[in-house]
Amino acid sequence: MKKVLPSFFATVIIMLGCLSSFSQTGLAPDQNPNYEASLAKYMNMADSLNRWHSSTQHDMYKAIDWLADRKEARADRREFRRQLRLERARWYNSGFYYNDYRGNHNRYRYHPFRGHYYSPFNRFDYWWR
């Protein structure tokens, strides 16, 4: 009996020590003591991550689809032609084309006094200078 008592008391003391250490640090049984590092990391991110709960995150890809690709290419060609038409109209209105009532379709105008052609777009080549 005398031999058993010291070991019993030692066990009880160790168990009490363990319990007191758990109660001091607030750890659950088997909880990682380094949990606070992760807690600090995710506390800052929680709001921005949880905002999108109950929603769909779209991360789509473009499938290889012959018919869809053909439609897309056609739409691209149409858009290109439309842009080309708009660009041409812009140039016509700016006087780049057909700028001469005499039917002179090049971009240079004839200088009546100097006897040569000049560009109306070149500000250093006006006839009155």
Binding site: H53, S54, T56, A63, L67
Partner: protein, 195 residues
């Protein structure tokens, strides 16, 4: 002259009828109507029916109740990642699953995301505007035990005008404390489209 008049009348009739050809009719949402071959309401309904049936009959509910003294599990809905080639809104079938949780009362559901933020904002507003007796307190929200997440994937195999589209929709339920996946729902849909 008569011929011209009759021809004009026929032409006018055709023009009038062609203008009136636009027609809208209400159909049963459960009716299967496939037009383009893309993801549609029938696919969403099939996924919802399958997921609802399996999630409520799986063992995770009874396991949770056995380990938590009969308490019902609390679930929050997280992200559903659409990794397919089409725009698919997962809310159409996730809402059906949520509806089944609430209507069967087997699972408790808590609000998340922007709606939760709105709730907290309303609670914050009450702190200064509502009467003291009706004011709702902060810090009394129900914490979720599980989070429902999911993904939608697709495979497209096409040649000229023929196409096979395969959709795989997964929903997963994970224990928030332990990260243990307690349930996975899966619905596979394959379509053969000939244009």
């Amino acid at each position: 002259m008569k011929r011209i008049i009759s021809f004009a009348f026929a032409l006018t009739t055709i023009v009038l009828f062609s203008n009136c050809s636009h027609k809208v009719t209400r159909i049963d949402p459960a009716e299967q109507v496939d037009i383009s071959g893309r993801w549609n309401n029938t696919d969403s309904r099939l996924v919802a029916e399958d997921m609802t049936k399996t999630i409520l009959s799986a063992n995770w509910i009874t396991d949770h109740m056995a380990s938590k003294n009969g308490q019902r599990p609390v679930v929050i809905v997280g992200f559903v990642a659409n990794k397919s080639h089409e725009h698919i809104e997962a809310e159409t079938f996730v809402k059906d699953v949520e509806n089944s949780f609430v209507s069967t009362q087997k699972v408790r559901l808590v609000q998340g995301g922007k709606k939760r933020e709105e709730l907290r904002a309303e609670k914050a507003d009450q702190q200064s505007n509502a009467s003291v007796s009706s004011m709702k307190k902060f810090g009394l929200e129900q914490g979720a035990d599980y989070i429902l997440q999911g993904s939608i994937n697709s495979i497209v195999d096409s040649h000229k005008r023929k196409k096979v589209v395969y959709y795989q929709t997964n929903l997963e339920l994970t224990n928030i404390e332990t990260n243990e996946v307690v349930w996975i729902g899966e619905k596979k849909i394959a379509k053969y489209v000939k244009n």
